[in-house]
């Protein structure tokens, strides 16, 4: 009877269903005299704390203590790598950053106390978007590079080329259990923390650092987590540190729990990305060369942004061979939450970009996207752009073929075409996309794990290892592995919560590799124990140790069906013969390495493969969509626990679907998370569950060299959801007449609506609205603030050249305190706009010197700069430079010329020609902002 490979329910399923399974905050009632912590929050995205007086809080009834920098015995910083996250900052770096904490007998008392802490602020300018960060040169890291061949030359030699941009939204983890920690002092001067953390050892390290304690004084336990998804890999640390500091100061147990709104405001998310790309390809859609520049919004501190960017860059190939490619990655520093690990860890963003490119290639050539994808697949023997052989590359095409057949892809495509022909306002789309995902931590030293297995004299067993349980089924799988190895029924093994005093120096439970690592470590320990028990059982059974088998809770000699000894008796005999009944296990992943400097190596132990087919329906009236059917074929190796694996595939897909469709993460112009609650940030709910949802595993796929031949399954399925996004795009295309379908991510109803509108109903009723400009009648700020939207657009629609949408979108921020605020609001709308909209805005500007095409306002500004008084030489030079500029950047040269001479203009033109494409794009936007500023000053008094 095999236990590994059986579809057993989750190890804690019984406790989940009865409510008996405990999470950190469920323990709160067990601590008499527990104190509750509440933070004092910054009202600015960026500001200096010029004065802080916590004392008034103490006057509030029920307040026990306050926590400020002065209370920290060690180093007041929770930053994982760079020590760049002060717990009590003197300069706040994101909106609502805690600057002090109040401890109360009740939560309400702490909240009342926090409201009484007096803080003085000196607000500073904030960088809030990737575009702003690029313009300001505000970066945490990069550019990092991965290269193969000469991408520029390859593109130049290609018969077809394209270039474009894609903005990719972030994602809130929305683990159902928010961040929580409870700390107290143990009996011997140490501190113990119950923490909802994916990385107890790092939580221990940070607490030790803050309290100035060696790590043996700090014990961290994680019972289980109510979801984590990467959001508790490093971001559980500050809350644990505050709880520990509070306990240290007050000698009482302290609880820190972030309610949902605080959790969403304070913790990092999946990184928003901006991608700029260029590609060269042949007439059949085969990529010849590509250049991809990735920018991530890292937020205020470094966190894990650098490895996240690396993984994005590693996955910019997805399943495709890129003969010549240049991938660059830059982590932007903004005044926002510090973005962090999230299932896929950058991989999803990288993969989305190459899928975007291939779809554009297909639509440019009017080829079926699935055909273009298939033509670019890796073949056996090829290597990735960082030099790793693509092991089992043929699986990509195998999965592709089998899934197309099992999902009836071709026939359904035809059915859909018939449906679409009959429905002018409702279109369906179908798409298939592949996944290739590398398994291992890309920082090689993390790929190790330890275990401690304890057998008691009655034959019952405790299993300890370094991994934490967050719902992914690690405990279930490891229990199966141990049960299989020791030949015991599952109930004989108790899975212990992760504790730093059982297994030290553990890695985060992350990178999908926890079963591979911890399972192998536990198997190592079990192997040793079996080896020690076999001679004893052999003596009892009268057979050589090699012939002893353990199964079903008994020992027996191979081939002997009659004589059996219960496991407990073997154990008792071993005890009496003074044989150690516990063992430590250890595992490190063999053969992986990567050199960041050269961008070469084999960072992954293996790749997990899969593909998905999705069919959607889009309502052209609203932009709403529905996922009708999903078919998945995924490679989990030899499934170790099929119920768990299927759960990971389905759950991962739906979470990816959320990221790409309903989940829209927005920040407002002040840097606040605008979607900071369950009512404004929408997770996939029942309505997102496809009516038909077929999941199958690739058969005969055992992975040699991995525990039980299984493959990691936590992250890869998330990216299967890209099929749904591509199906939406296919449906949008069906409204139009062909060509590229620009669609930023997530594909919200509004984005889909406008994409449909652009494609099919270009002559919508919005045309011809408010193109007026700064030369119109002047209005006062009070008047502006009182205008209805249409009138507002009427009078300010021309402030941004031929782009009334800027005014339209800024209108709702009224009232504006001054022209600055008005300008900032409009500028924010441009910065928040899609790349395509920004480009259109730049292109709406008149060409320098070609007055014919100018709007009245621009004509006025250029006449004053003396451009009409050029000498013939100057004229020729201007024309030459201007032409080169247009060719290089594809938009007209824009300079806020007020107060500049023709000489200034020529110099500026020459200098800016040296800029990189992205750099100049941002420069041009800055000029546009400046022009808008002049115009506002002229129009508004």
């Amino acid at each position: 009877m095999k236990i590994a490979g059986q579809p057993v329910p989750h190890e804690s399923a019984h406790g989940h269903a009865t409510g008996e399974a405990l999470y950190t905050d469920d323990l709160a009632g067990r601590f008499p005299r527990l104190l509750h912590a509440w933070p004092v929050l910054a009202p600015h995205a960026h500001a200096l704390v010029t004065a802080l007086d916590a004392a008034p809080a103490l006057a509030e009834p029920g307040v026990a203590a306050t926590l400020t920098a002065a209370d920290v015995p060690g180093e007041a910083d929770s930053g994982a790598n760079r020590h760049d996250e002060p717990l009590f900052p003197s300069e706040v770096m994101y909106h609502r950053q805690p600057v002090a904490w109040v401890l109360g007998e009740t939560l309400e008392a702490a909240q009342r106390g926090a409201a009484r802490v007096s803080v003085e602020w000196q607000p500073l300018p904030a960088v809030l978007t990737i575009a702003d960060a690029i313009a300001a040169g505000s970066f945490h890291a990069g550019p990092l590079h991965l290269r193969r061949g000469d991408a520029a030359a390859a593109m130049k030699a290609s018969p077809h080329r394209l270039q474009g941009e894609l903005a990719i939204g972030g994602q809130e983890h929305f683990y159902l259990e928010t961040q929580c920690a409870i700390a107290w002092l143990d009996e011997s001067g140490g501190v113990v923390i119950e923490s909802s953390t994916q990385h107890p050892s790092e939580t221990q390290e940070v607490v030790g650092r803050v309290l100035g304690l060696p790590r043996h004084q700090v014990t961290v336990e994680c019972l289980r987590m109510g979801g984590a998804f990467g959001g508790k890999e490093v971001q559980a640390n500050p809350w644990a540190a505050i709880a520990a500091l509070g306990a240290w100061k007050t000698r009482r147990p302290v609880r820190v729990r972030l309610p949902r709104a605080l959790d969403m405001a304070l913790t990092g998310k999946r990184h928003p990305f901006l991608a700029r790309f260029e590609a060269g390809f042949d007439g059949e859609g085969r990529l010849q060369g590509a250049a991809i520049a990735l920018y991530s919004d890292g937020g205020w501190s470094l966190d894990l942004s650098e490895p996240v960017m690396w993984r994005a860059m590693f996955h910019a190939d997805n399943a495709y061979f890129l003969p010549a490619v240049e991938v660059a990655g830059t982590v932007c520093r903004t005044h926002k939450t510090s973005q962090t690990a999230f299932r896929g860890f950058g991989g999803p963003q990288g993969m989305l970009v190459i899928e975007e490119i291939l779809d554009r290639v297909a639509r440019t050539l009017s080829l079926a996207p699935e055909l273009v994808r298939e033509r670019n697949f890796y073949r056996e023997g090829q290597t990735t752009h960082y030099g790793q052989p693509v092991k089992d590359a043929a699986r990509i095409a195998t999965i592709w073929r089998r899934l197309q057949a099992s999902s009836g892809f071709r026939e359904r495509r035809q059915e859909i075409a018939r449906f679409n022909a009959a429905h002018p306002h409702c279109k369906r789309g179908i798409a298939i996309t592949p996944v290739k995902f590398g398994i291992s931590f890309t920082a090689t030293f993390f790929n190790q794990a330890g275990a401690l297995v304890l057998i008691y004299r009655d034959g019952s067993v405790q299993v300890n290892h370094g991994g934490t349980e967050m719902g992914q089924g690690l405990a279930t799988k490891v229990r199966q592995i141990a049960a299989e190895s020791l030949g015991l029924p599952l109930q004989a093994l108790r899975m212990m919560p992760a504790r730093t005093d059982k297994v030290p120096n553990t890695s985060a439970t992350a990178a999908s590799a926890s079963t591979d690592l911890n399972g192998a470590a536990v198997a190592d320990a079990c192997r040793q124990l079996r080896a020690r028990l076999a001679p004893i059982a052999g003596a009892m059974l009268g057979c050589p140790p090699e012939a002893v088998r353990f199964a079903g809770g008994e020992a027996f000699s191979e081939g002997d069906l009659v004589q059996r000894v219960p496991f407990a008796q073997v154990v008792e005999a071993a005890y009496r013969q003074r044989v150690a009944l516990f063992a430590q296990g250890y595992y490190r992943t063999p053969g992986i390495h990567f050199d960041q400097k050269t961008g070469r190596g084999e960072p992954f132990h293996y790749f997990a493969y899969g593909a998905a087919v999705a069919e959607v329906e889009v309502d052209g009236f609203t932009g709403g969509h529905r996922v009708l059917r999903v078919d998945i074929l995924h490679d989990v190796g030899e499934s170790l626990s099929p119920l768990i694996d299927r759960g990971q595939v389905e759950g991962g897909f739906i979470q990816g679907l959320g990221w790409l469709t309903v989940e829209e993460l927005l920040w407002d112009a002040e840097g606040r998370v605008a979607t900071n609650s369950a009512s404004t940030y929408k997770l996939p709910a029942w309505s997102e569950l496809p009516e038909v949802f077929e999941v199958a595993f690739l058969e005969q796929a055992a992975e040699p060299g991995v525990i039980c031949g299984s493959k990691a399954v936590g992250e890869p399925p998330l990216m299967l959801a890209i099929a749904a996004r591509e199906a939406i795009r296919e449906a949008i295309a069906a409204f139009g007449v062909g060509g590229v379908v620009a669609l930023d991510s997530p594909a919200t109803p509004e984005r889909i609506f406008w994409a449909v509108e652009r494609g099919a109903r270009r002559a919508g009723f919005r045309r011809g609205r408010g193109a007026g400009g700064g030369s119109g009648p002047r209005v006062t700020l009070a008047e502006v603030n009182g205008l209805a939207c249409e009138r507002f657009v009427g009078s300010l629609g021309g402030v941004f050249e031929q782009s009334p949408w800027v005014a339209e979108r800024a209108w709702w921020r009224r009232p504006f305190g001054d022209v600055d605020a008005l300008h900032a609001a409009m500028r924010f709308q441009v910065a928040a706009a899609t790349r395509a909209e920004q480009l259109a805005l730049l292109r709406a500007h008149p060409d320098l010197g070609a007055r014919a095409a100018m709007s009245a306002t621009s004509a006025g500004e250029q006449a004053g700069a003396g451009l009409d008084r050029l000498t013939p030489d100057e004229f020729a030079r201007l024309q030459r430079l201007n032409a080169r500029y247009r060719e290089k950047f594809t938009f007209p040269f824009i300079l806020a010329v007020k107060g500049s001479t023709k000489h200034d203009i020529l110099v500026a033109l020459e200098r800016r020609l040296e800029n990189g494409v992205e750099e100049e794009f941002q420069e041009a936007l800055l000029q546009v902002y400046r022009i808008a500023r002049f115009r506002l000053e002229e129009s508004v008094t």
């Binding site: 709160a28 527990l34 259990e177 759950g651 109803p749 009723f765 919005r766």
Partner: protein
């Protein structure tokens, strides 16, 4: 977890998992969820504290048309005094002597839990569904549409539900043979639940600082998320006057204190009532979730006067009038003059909504539409209800174009209505109306959608309405 002690003596009694339970010395804004957890009943979890996630689901025993029922509700949205006299069960009550209930076993067997944090909530919703009086066949997975799961993607939970048949014999089924406890009046510091309308009006007169509370699905969210504190709350749950559902030649009268689930059930069950209009069928599943519909009332929805509330567009298109009671007696007001400004209504101090009247005949062809980021259980970006009656010649006899999310108040687009009156109801008329809408509406932009999108939707939804009519005529 310790809760704030309240200076005034305050005690609330109710039946919790079959035992009389008394909660004392707590502030009246303590939620049932916090109370349960402070008593060690930690099966119910807090995932959001605003009725969105369902992790806090418990069931209350209530009388329903089809019989006594377990009604699942969000325990995070009940102030403790609202629980007074109720009979409540939590997940801890379900498993008996170590053996799981059928619902729990199905969740285990199908892999319905991963992290398990949401599971008790799903179990309670599904438990209520399995025991729903009059239910036949497998359980309806949509009964759990108010429960969010971040891990599973719902498929295993759907399959678990479809596997469950009739409620098993046992104490829980036997309990439903008897009626639910009657709601008795309650009075404690900071909270009263009067038993009659007259008492309620008197209390309101004596407590100008008081706020009414019905289902609490708006008010408790304000307390939980925005730390609003209400010095005095008057619960309307026990007022029979607000729980009428009457059909007459004049039309239908719907009590302001009925929950949406109750209205739906009564309407469908009442043979004498005019048939349920299409728009109501459209509306119900789009309004929040089953958990919220078990508590939320029409009175609360209209009195909140949210510009993106869904009740107003529906009722405006049906020409609703509201019955208002106050210190000077009763009065009737047409709904289209009820909303004065952003979250301001025609209710005077001391007044409350008693009922809503829908005059007969109800427009047969009315339809309700809701555009939101998520298809179900989301707040509207734009909501619209259109009712158009044609004469024999196919010309517009009466038009009601009601919209939410396009202005500071829900409104009827009267100018657009006028623009099509007497015209043939064709694409041309749609275009005319769209043009007028584009000129006269002034929506705002926010995180739910830009102003331009909202404006476009208003016209686009009207076009959708027209198209769907044509498709139906053709079919």
């Amino acid at each position: 977890m310790a809760l704030d002690p309240h200076p005034d003596t305050f005690s609330v009694e109710f039946l919790l998992n079959g035992r009389a339970t008394c909660a004392e010395n707590l502030p009246p804004h303590t939620t049932l969820l916090d109370f349960l957890r402070s008593r060690g009943l930690t099966g119910a979890k807090e995932g959001c504290a605003e009725g969105e996630c369902g992790a806090c689901t418990v069931v209350m025993v209530k009388d329903r048309r089809a019989g006594t029922a377990y009604v699942p509700v969000n325990s995070c949205l009940l102030f403790l005094p609202m629980a007074a006299g109720q009979e409540i069960y939590t997940v801890e009550a379900l498993a008996g002597n170590g053996s799981l209930s059928e619902v729990q076993q199905a969740m285990v067997d199908y892999g319905g839990s991963q992290c398990g944090y949401c599971t008790p909530g799903f179990v309670m919703s599904l438990f209520a569904e399995q025991h729903r009086p009059g239910r036949e066949g497998p359980c309806d997975p949509h009964s759990m549409a108010g429960n969010l799961c971040r891990c599973t993607g719902y498929r295993p939970i759907r399959d678990a539900a479809r596997e469950l048949g009739p409620a098993p014999e046992g104490a829980f089924r036997a309990r439903l043979a008897n009626p639910a406890p009657r709601l008795v009046p309650v009075s404690c510091p900071g909270f009263s639940r009067p038993g009659t309308l007259a008492e309620c009006l008197a209390l309101m007169a004596g407590h100008p600082e008081a706020r009414l509370i019905a289902g609490g699905t708006d008010l408790v969210v304000e307390a939980n998320l925005r730390q609003r504190r209400f010095p005095y709350l008057i619960g309307v749950e026990a007022l029979e006057e607000l729980r009428v559902f009457r059909a007459s030649a004049e039309g239908i009268e719907i009590g302001a204190g009925l929950s949406f689930a109750e209205i739906d059930e009564r309407w469908r069950a009442m043979a004498a009532a005019p048939p349920v209009p299409r728009a109501w069928d459209d509306w119900v599943p789009l309004f929040a979730s089953p958990l919220i519909r078990n508590r939320a009332t029409l009175g609360g929805n209209l009195a909140t006067a949210s510009p993106i509330g869904d009740g107003a567009p529906l009722l405006l298109a049906l020409d609703a009038r509201v019955r208002i009671a106050g210190p000077r007696g009763e009065r009737m007001t047409p709904l289209d003059s009820f909303f004065l400004d952003y979250r301001r209504t025609a209710l005077e101090p001391g007044e409350l909504l008693v009922s809503i009247l829908l005059p007969a005949p109800l427009p047969a062809a009315a339809r309700f539409y809701k555009a939101a980021k998520r298809r179900m259980d989301d707040i509207s970006t734009v909501a619209a209800c259109f009712a158009i009656d044609l004469d024999d010649g196919g010309r517009v006899l009466r038009a009601r174009l009601a919209l939410g999310g396009v202005a500071r108040v829900p409104l009827r687009a009267v100018e657009a209505e006028e623009a099509i009156l007497g015209r043939r109801w064709n694409q041309d008329a749609v275009r005319r109306a769209r043009d007028v809408l584009a000129r006269t509406l002034h929506p705002i932009g926010d995180h739910r959608g830009s102003a331009a999108y909202r404006l476009a939707l208003a016209g686009s939804l009207l076009e959708k309405f027209w198209w769907e009519q044509q498709e139906e005529l053709a079919a």
